[in-house]
Amino acid sequence: MVQGSLNSSGIEGDLVSLLERSLDAIAEAVPACHAALRAALEGMSVGVTMGDDRLRATFSRDVVHLSRELTGADVEIRTTRRTVLEIVEDGLPLDVAVWNDAVAVQGTLDAVARVHEGLRIYTHGAVRTPKSAGLLARFREDARR
């Protein structure tokens, strides 16, 4: 389901590794969510930068391709791990984070709307997936570094 472009020194806590494991876990626990996510973002690439960490996720009908190359993304998102934790654990509303430029989003309106729907579906999958707690703990560890 997920093809990752990891080099031999890929760090387990890096963004690509974490998202790969998260998507695999969702595909296993809630396959309907994984299918809905691919359908919602089919044909799109989403780039994410968090500090020094970056990824690009490219969605096709059958797979999600992850790489560390940002070029060619339809939507680019720039934020920090701290902000993501504030949203997920402290209840910071996403719209407030965007308004305050803690989350910067760049893309056409239609593309951004599709990515927002994709985020919603991804979250539905993640909250139903037992392995998400461990992945979030690892994400939290790396945010403290």
Partner: protein, 346 residues
């Protein structure tokens, strides 16, 4: 001191014992059970809920969940998931440990200990029942779904709540307890409204509970009731066609606390389709009681739907003022105090 005695007592304790999921023994799945407590101290309000759930996302294993919400100049609280190996409880027993949290019954009073891991909220409380319970088994909830419940509409809570480093100690604060159990999925074709009404005046003899079960779109009422206690005893019940409900709304609650906080991504914005005033009227013969509730504040417990993978179900815990008036058995009914109404919505 009211001098009232109520509750289940040393001989009736079994009726409020945990049943636990029959799926553990090869029985029916999709079981849910919870013990629920509300406290209305003058400076702080508290909701505590100990739940057992057949977890859809781990193959139906029985897991625990503790919800603790405190209200004082805003909300604080969280939902904590408790792994099976971190729980100590048995079917047929009230005493239970859910991780760092615990509840027990000493033959007269309930005791609860709550300490959230990631939020600044602790509570150490004793609940003394001052009313006898009501019990209803297998009430219709949705197609092939039913819910049983026990509620003790009036107790007195004594103890301490520590919220954001500030301690609140109190004695004999108005309190409420219920216990529900049944087989259903969040996202099934049902909704409910459940309200408790207490008085700030310890000398006031009245307390009330309201319930309404409906389909998910709230186009069809399945059952409803308005229950009136006088001191420790059941006094009057109005059921089904004896009950009418009127709404004024919608209520613009503003941004409310949503727990677990990650679910705020799936339920953004204000609480949906809630009343800014609800009036429940029970009429039977010469007996008539009206209960009015106006919410002041709300917190939301948001859960992933177990029916549809990209939907949610939400419990809106609305806190506010309740008033009741009427006449039953030739005696005037009057109540003014704190209430909590829970609304199940998508």
């Amino acid at each position: 001191m009211t001098g009232r005695r109520g509750g289940i007592g040393e001989d009736g304790w079994w009726i409020d014992a945990f049943r636990r999921s029959p799926a553990r023994l090869g029985g029916a799945r999709e079981y849910k059970e919870w013990q629920h407590f509300l406290v209305h101290a003058r400076d702080v309000h508290l909701l505590v809920n100990f739940s057992l759930i057949d977890d859809t996302w781990t193959g139906g294993a029985e897991v625990g969940r503790v919800i603790a919400l405190a209200r004082r100049e805003g909300w604080e609280g969280d939902v904590e998931r408790i792994a099976p190996e971190d729980m100590d409880l048995a079917a047929g027993r009230i005493d239970a440990r859910f991780g760092r949290h615990a509840m027990r019954f000493d033959g007269r009073s309930y005791h609860i200990e709550v300490e959230l891991a990631r939020r600044p909220l602790k509570a150490h409380l004793r609940f003394d029942p001052t009313s006898v319970p009501a019990v209803a088994w297998n009430q219709p909830l949705a197609a092939s779904r039913s819910l049983s419940w026990l509620f003790v509409p009036r107790l007195e809570a004594t103890g301490e709540i520590e919220l954001r480093g500030e301690r609140f100690a109190f004695e004999r604060a108005p309190a409420y307890h219920d216990h529900n159990w049944g087989h259903f999925r969040w996202g099934d074709d049902f909704s409910w409204e459940w309200g408790s009404a207490l008085s700030w005046d310890p000398a006031c003899p009245w307390s009330l509970v309201y319930m309404r079960m409906a389909d998910r779109r709230r186009t069809r009422v399945i059952c409803q009731g308005l229950y009136l206690w006088r001191n420790e005893s059941h006094h009057r019940v109005f059921r089904d066609r004896q009950v009418s409900v009127q709404w004024q709304g919608p209520w613009r609650s503003g941004r409310s606390l949503k727990v677990p906080r990650v679910m705020g991504l799936l339920s953004p914005g204000e609480g949906g389709d809630l009343p800014n005033r609800i009036e429940v009227r029970g009429v039977s013969g010469d007996d008539e009681v009206t209960l009015a509730f106006e919410p002041a504040d709300a917190a939301e417990v948001v859960m992933p739907s177990e029916v549809a993978p990209t939907e949610i179900a939400a419990l809106h815990e609305c806190w506010g003022r309740v008033r009741a008036w009427g006449r039953v058995g030739g005696e005037e009914v009057a109540l003014d105090g704190p209430g909590v109404f829970e609304f199940v919505r998508d």
